[in-house]
C-alpha cells in the first residue's frame, strides 16, 4: 500500500513518553518511525545495545516500550535478539505460540559499528528473521561524546579534541552500511527521518516484512554532542542528505538503489557550519580540512552512483 502520513499516524503509539532522552534527541524520532511500520496486530520483541536509548527508555521501574523489551549488554544485543527469535521459532513449530512476532534490535553507533560488530555480523550471517537498526549519532553520546568509528573526520569529541595539535578526529568514518551489504543478506538500507517520513517508513516496512536478516542504518542527530540548537533537528537531517554526507540508499538481494538524489548537491560547509563540533574547521589555517571533507564526500557519492549502475 502506498505510504500516507495521515494514515500512518492513526496507528497506536508504541513508544510512550516519559523516557529520559534529552530534549530534541533524534533517536526516539527514528524509533517511533520504525515502530509505526509494524502492522497493528503484530507483536514485537525489541532488544537494545547499551547506549542512550537503552538506559533512557528502560529505567527501572519504568519502561517506555509497549512491546516486549530485553535489556542487553553493549556487545551482544544482536545475539540476544537472534536467540529470542530462535526460541520463538522452536515454540511456534511445537504449536505453543500463536500470532506473529517481529524481532527488532536497536543499537547506537558505538554498540553497532564498534563494540557490537561481532554479534551483529554473526546474527546477520546466520540469517535470523530479525531487523537490526543502528541509530547513528556519530559518537558515544551516552558516556560523554567520545569518538567512535562512526564519527566523521574532523569532528571535535572529548577523545579527539580539536586544538593546536589535531583538528578533531583524524580518521575517516567507517562505512558500516556497505559492510552489512557485503554480508549478502536480503535487505540493507541507509535512511533518515526526513520530510513526511516516507523513506524511513518504507524501508522499515521492507526490512520488517522481508523474511531473513535485515539491517537499517538511520541518521539520528544529537543536539548535545553535535552542538546545535534543539529545534534544528530536521534541518540538520535535510542538510546531511542534500550535501550527500548521508546518502539514502538500499540494497535488496545485492541490487543497490540510491533512493534520493538531490537536485542541487549542496557544499559540505552548509552541513558543517550548522554544528559546533565542526566550528574549528572554519578557523584560519584549517581550510584544508573542509577541502578534504568535501573530497571524501564526493568520492563516496561517485562510488555509490557507480555501484548503482553496475
Amino acid at each position: 500500500m502506498a505510504y500516507n502520513l495521515k494514515e500512518s499516524v492513526k496507528k497506536p503509539e508504541r513508544l510512550a513518553g516519559g523516557h529520559r532522552m534529552c530534549a530534541g534527541c533524534g533517536a526516539p524520532v527514528v524509533v517511533r518511525a520504525i515502530l509505526r511500520a509494524l502492522k497493528e496486530d503484530d507483536h514485537a520483541v525489541i532488544g537494545s545495545a547499551t547506549g542512550c536509548l537503552e538506559v533512557s527508555t528502560c529505567l527501572y521501574p519504568y519502561t517506555s516500550w509497549k512491546d516486549s523489551f530485553i535489556h542487553s549488554a553493549f556487545e551482544n544485543a544482536a545475539a540476544t535478539v537472534s536467540g529470542a527469535e530462535a526460541a520463538y521459532n522452536a515454540l511456534k513449530r511445537k504449536g505453543k505460540i500463536t500470532g506473529d512476532t517481529k524481532f527488532i534490535t536497536f543499537g547506537g553507533d558505538g554498540g553497532t559499528y564498534d563494540i557490537g560488530l561481532q554479534s551483529l555480523s554473526g546474527a546477520m550471517e546466520r540469517g535470523h528473521d530479525m531487523v537490526y537498526i543502528c541509530y547513528d549519532n556519530g559518537a558515544y553520546m551516552n558516556t560523554g561524546i567520545q569518538r567512535s568509528s562512526a564519527t566523521p573526520s574532523f569532528a571535535d569529541t572529548t577523545t579527539s579534541p580539536a586544538g593546536n595539535v589535531i583538528p578533531g578526529k583524524m580518521q575517516p568514518r567507517k562505512d558500516l552500511t556497505l559492510i552489512m551489504a557485503n554480508h549478502n543478506i536480503p535487505y540493507v538500507a541507509q535512511t533518515a527521518p526526513m520530510g513526511n517520513f516516507k523513506d524511513i517508513y518504507a524501508k522499515a516496512e521492507k526490512a520488517l516484512y522481508t523474511p531473513g536478516a535485515a539491517f537499517i542504518n538511520a541518521f539520528a542527530p544529537c543536539p548535545r554532542g553535535w552542538r546545535y540548537e534543539t529545534p534544528l533537528l530536521m534541518d540538520i537531517i535535510k542538510l546531511a542528505v542534500d550535501t550527500c554526507i548521508w546518502p539514502l540508499y538500499e540494497v535488496e538481494d545485492g541490487k543497490l538503489t540510491v533512493n534520493y538524489k538531490p537536485r542541487k548537491k549542496l557544499p559540505v560547509e552548509d552541513f558543517l557550519k550548522a554544528q559546533g563540533r565542526f566550528r574549528h574547521m572554519f578557523k584560519k589555517g584549517n581550510e584544508w580540512t573542509i577541502e578534504q571533507f568535501q573530497k571524501d564526500v564526493d568520492e563516496k557519492w561517485e562510488r555509490l552512483l557507480s555501484m548503482e549502475e553496475n
Partner: protein
C-alpha cells in the same frame, strides 16, 4: 509479592520490593513519569492556523502530540513535552509558537 503489587512499583521502590529479575510488567508505564518539568520554553498550538498536515507528529521525540481516532491532532501532552521546539520549526503554517514556560 503478588502480581498486583508489581504493577504498582513507583519511583520510590526500595530493594526489598523490586520484582525478581528486574522485570517490568506494565508496558509503557513511563507515561507516569512526568518529564514536562524539564521544559524552559513551551509550544503553543494555534488551532486556527493548523491544517492538520501531521508533519509535527512524527518529529516529536517525546510522543507528546496526541492523535484522536479520526487522525486529527490534539493539544500537546504537557506532562511529557520537553520543549525542544522541533515541531514549531517544521510547521509550515506557523501553527506552533514557542513561548516562555
Amino acid at each position: 509479592m503478588n502480581k498486583k503489587d508489581k504493577l504498582n512499583l513507583g519511583n520510590d521502590v526500595n530493594w526489598k520490593e523490586i520484582s525478581p529479575g528486574g522485570v517490568i510488567n506494565e508496558p509503557g508505564n513511563s507515561d507516569k513519569f512526568k518529564t514536562g518539568d524539564w521544559r524552559s520554553v513551551k509550544p503553543v498550538w494555534i488551532k486556527e492556523n493548523c491544517k492538520q498536515c501531521m508533519l509535527c507528529f512524527p518529529v516529536c521525540p517525546d510522543s507528546s502530540i496526541p492523535i484522536d481516532e479520526n487522525g486529527k491532532r490534539l493539544d500537546f501532552d504537557f506532562d511529557h513535552c520537553k520543549g525542544c521546539g522541533i515541531c514549531a520549526e517544521v510547521c509550515p503554517f506557523s501553527a506552533i509558537e514557542m513561548k516562555d514556560n
